[in-house]
């Protein structure tokens, strides 16, 4: 996956400790200890540059977009649309101004595809293929469509290393109309072979909806070389604000879709007896969009681009390798780390079971040491069932984490283990 700007070298590096200084929350203390934030897969922290960009917009430029002739309304519109283009370029969108739809989060983006593409292309008996490692956001919309119009869901299984089993791929995809697949599992860290999957899906006549929530923040992304048709992600996981997500779609596909929600902005005309929808991407953006949030997302993209996504990826591989080693060394058979054992085959998300200690208890004890890890099903209950657990503890990294964070995690886990022994 080629990237556009910023540091290009695959050996590019970053200095996490220096970057961490850009994130105000990371200076906070928890129970008298410095915070060790290891829950970026749930939501990342935001650098001052992002917070400042939003504040600057709010203090100098805010007005509703797309409707005003006066100076600040025009500036607001320009900054908002510039953010759209900026985000589109960041993921290699061929036509960034038309193909990037702002939603409220990645979940809405995925639902948008189910509602608009799904309702126009899927009928009774049609097949949608998902993977066993999907997040609920890429499962439940299809369940809802299945209940409404009798579509069939098929599942690509995973093996014990947390990788998709692709031996029967052609059979699974046979007759499928859509493949919904996560680029990177938010539980296992598994990086799926999207390019290969997309090619197989297209050969079978299916369109490809990629859930890129966990990959866009951590890897260079180029929609063209991935070959997918739709791509969804959330700003709050990529150093941006809450309240905004993105659906990218291929121009030809988006252009033929009906609207999603109805209201202002998405129309060309409204009469008492009907309405005429607007052009893309606005057709899918009913009502006042998340304007300040788009500015923030644009600034987050600028920040990531300046650091360089290759450097982010390289850093996270090395940190993940370090963590895998450290955990295995300290706990041996006492820890079960889910997902690929090879750091290069995965992102910086480590779900684990620590002996008999329940994830809730792990997380609670770790909190005493200032360590933030998530405990739960991570919105992936079908995957939990496949793994034979109710929940896992999960530590996840971002560009501001370094090896000291891993060391703190390991020590705190040791305490938890002792406490519940």
């Amino acid at each position: 996956m080629a990237e556009l700007t910023g540091t290009r070298s695959p050996t590019a590096t970053l200095d996490a400790a220096t970057l961490a200084k850009d994130f105000p929350l990371l200076t906070r203390e928890i129970h008298g200890r410095p915070i060790t934030y290891l829950d970026s897969a749930a939501s990342s922290q935001r650098p001052t540059a992002v917070l400042d960009a939003m504040r600057n917009y709010d203090e100098t430029t805010h007005a509703n977009v797309h409707r005003g002739v006066y100076t600040i309304a025009e500036e607001a519109t320009r900054r908002f649309e510039a953010a759209r283009t900026n985000v589109g370029r960041f993921i290699g969108a061929p036509d960034p101004g038309r193909e990037v739809v702002f939603t409220k989060n990645a979940t809405e983006a995925l639902n948008l595809v189910a509602h608009t593409w799904g309702r126009t292309h899927l009928g009774r008996g049609d097949v949608v293929v998902l993977t066993e490692m999907e997040h609920h956001a890429n499962i439940v919309p299809w369940h809802m469509l299945a209940a409404e119009r009798g579509i069939e869901l098929r599942w690509i299984p995973i093996d014990d290393d947390g990788q998709l089993v692709l031996d029967d791929l052609d059979a699974v995809l046979d007759g499928a109309k859509l493949l919904g697949v996560t680029c990177m599992s938010n539980v296992l860290g598994t990086l799926n072979p999207i390019t290969e999957l997309a090619a197989a899906a297209h050969a079978a006549g299916a369109v490809v909806l990629a859930d890129a929530c966990q990959s866009v923040p951590h890897l260079p992304t180029d929609v063209a070389s991935l070959g997918v048709d739709f791509l969804a992600f959330s700003a709050h996981k990529m150093l941006g604000p809450t309240g905004i997500g993105v659906l990218w779609g291929r121009e030809e596909l988006l252009a033929e879709l009906p609207p999603f929600l109805g209201g202002g902005e998405m129309i060309l005309d409204v009469r008492k007896d009907g309405f005429t929808p607007n052009d893309i991407p606005w057709r899918f953006e009913a009502g006042t969009p998340p304007i300040t949030e788009a500015i923030g997302l644009g600034a987050a993209v600028d920040y990531l681009r300046a650091v360089g996504m290759d450097a982010v990826r390289a850093h996270e591989i090395s940190l993940t390798a370090y963590a895998l080693d450290a955990l295995n060394e300290r706990f041996g058979d006492g820890i079960r780390i889910f997902g690929p054992s090879d750091a290069e085959a995965r992102g910086g998300v480590l779900s684990f079971a620590l002996g008999e200690v329940h994830p809730h208890d792990i997380s609670q004890i770790l909190d005493q040491y200032g360590v933030c890890v998530r405990a739960g099903h991570h919105c992936a209950k079908p995957l939990m069932r496949r793994l034979g657990v109710n929940s896992t503890a999960r530590a996840s990294f971002a560009l501001y984490n370094d090896e000291r964070d891993v060391d703190t995690l390991v020590e705190a886990l040791d305490e938890a283990k002792k406490f519940f022994a």
Partner: protein, 165 residues
């Protein structure tokens, strides 16, 4: 564990490590109810044997964290052999102790961190015996659901046992 004394009292850890009344009763005659915590996916199975208005036997199965497991274990010890009416009273008292934060969301006031703490209503803590050890859980709102899971499940079981088969 410094800072967590209120949560992980010794008696709680004891019940967690050596849970009482573990297992499942045969159904029928026993009534079997499952409860689960959507937050963490934990599931609990409560089987009860109600005879002549008395909770003659109870067993607990399923998995959960230390709080949910020990709460279930203590509950089973507390209600076993009691009348259904007494069990219901205990459930009400226990949930009263827990509901302070479960039901009453942080009220009115600001968003800016100034969240009012509601003081616990007068509840008969003495009636709870060793269950009072779970009182510290209310300081950890996320864990309240862990503590109440088995109790909600038991309440449902008593309802089912009461309704004509």
């Amino acid at each position: 564990m410094p800072g967590l004394e209120d949560l992980y009292r010794e008696i709680i850890l004891d019940h967690y490590r050596s849970p009482r009344n573990r297992g499942e009763l045969e159904t029928p005659p026993a009534v079997r109810v499952e409860g689960f915590n959507p937050l963490c996916g934990d599931e609990i199975v409560v089987t009860i044997d109600v005879q002549d208005g008395v909770l003659a036997d109870i067993k607990i199965a399923g998995t959960g964290c230390s709080i949910s497991q020990s709460s279930a274990s203590m509950m089973s010890a507390a209600v076993k052999g009691k009348s259904v009416a007494e069990a219901r009273d205990l459930i009400a008292t226990f949930k009263g102790m827990m509901s302070i934060h479960e039901a009453t969301l942080p009220s009115g006031a600001g968003d800016a961190g100034t969240i009012e703490e509601t003081e616990p209503e007068a509840i008969d803590i003495d009636a709870l015996g060793e269950l009072a050890a779970l009182q510290g859980v209310v300081k950890f709102p996320v864990r309240i659901k862990c503590a109440t899971l088995s109790w909600n499940t038991l309440a449902q079981g008593l309802d089912e046992a009461a309704s004509p088969v």
